[in-house]
């Protein structure tokens, strides 16, 4: 489909790797610029009684900070910059994708998988840095009969290793399926003709667009919630 196609704007070849500047990269840059610009502008002249922009910036920060505090506890606040940037980046990419004629960065699994792999590597590194080899105890639930151990450890290991896949596929599938759904319903309007029944799919398209804006936000939130749940595993192990 046209809306998922990647076009090269600027051909670039780095040591045999295709590192061209594409429309995908353009929208990623746009997302980062919008977020940075908004947060900097909103917080540039801070006041005790916040302006509208400042309170939006503070609300988004508080939102993620509370979520992180609930899930990980005080020790998790060190990782606030990481989780907050993930949330804001994914949210900006999802929302930019809702504009007509734009490109949804997160509807490509390569992008979401890179993000999820980053989360996986960071979380695993934090776990080993904090607990050393004791981090492997995460795979062994407490109070487990010895005879069950081989099976449980295998299952826990698989479920640990599958995390980046489920994290990335969830975001990618939601964004792609949503945009395809909109496209399919928009196609019904044309094939039915607007006045000969086409207004029904038209109304559905309007409703689904609202749902997609909601899903774009929810998926960004879920991405950061799951990141913080994984962080909680790495920081607190079982005793949280």
């Amino acid at each position: 489909m046209h809306q998922f196609e990647i076009n090269r704007f600027l051909k670039l070849d780095l040591f045999g790797l295709d590192a061209s500047f594409t429309n995908s990269s353009a929208f990623m840059v746009a997302a980062v610029v919008i977020v940075l610009g908004f947060l900097t502008l909103a917080m540039s002249n801070r006041s005790l009684v916040p302006t509208r922009a400042q309170s939006v910036a503070e609300m988004s920060y508080e939102f993620i900070a509370n979520m992180l505090r609930d899930n990980v506890g005080k020790a998790g606040m060190r990782y606030m910059p990481f989780v907050f940037s993930l949330f804001v980046f994914v949210l900006a990419c999802n929302m930019l994708g809702m504009l007509p004629y734009s490109f949804t960065v997160t509807s490509h699994i390569v992008v979401t998988f890179a993000l999820a792999a980053l989360v996986f590597v960071v979380v695993t590194a934090i776990g080993f840095a904090r607990h050393g080899l004791g981090y492997f105890r995460l795979l062994v639930p407490s109070g487990m009969p010895i005879i069950m151990l081989p099976m449980i450890v295998t299952i826990e290991l698989i479920s640990y290793l599958i995390r980046p896949i489920s994290l990335s596929v969830r975001l990618f599938a939601n964004m792609m399926a949503g945009h395809m759904l909109l496209k399919v319903f928009a196609g019904f309007i044309v094939s039915l003709g607007f006045f000969t029944g086409g207004f029904v799919p038209f109304l559905a398209t309007v409703a689904f667009t609202g749902l997609e804006v909601f899903v774009a936000f929810i998926q960004a939130f879920i991405f950061s919630v799951l990141t913080s749940i994984y962080l909680s595993d790495a920081v607190n192990m079982h005793e949280h």
Binding site: F172, A177, Q219, V225
Partner: protein
């Protein structure tokens, strides 16, 4: 059977994962509502969990959709 036809049937069957997603989303929102009506003061505190459950259930169905797309275009 024509392999091309089998491909389409398989892709259609893979979409039945959405049955589970529908049941899951319905049960999450239904249970949230019945809980919220019993104890409305505790409801806002559980809204985040509701959204997490919704997204997790929806994603499981979408995995089936991804499988269907892989069968069709992979």
């Amino acid at each position: 059977m024509d392999p091309e036809a089998a491909k389409f049937i398989g892709a259609g069957l893979a979409c039945s994962a959405l049955i589970g997603a529908g049941v899951g989303i319905g049960s999450i929102f239904g249970n949230y509502l019945s809980g919220a009506l019993r104890n409305p003061s505790a409801a806002p505190g559980q809204f985040t969990n509701l959204l997490i459950g919704f997204a997790l259930a929806e994603a499981t169905g979408l995995f089936g959709l991804v499988v269907a797309l892989i069968i069709l275009f992979g």
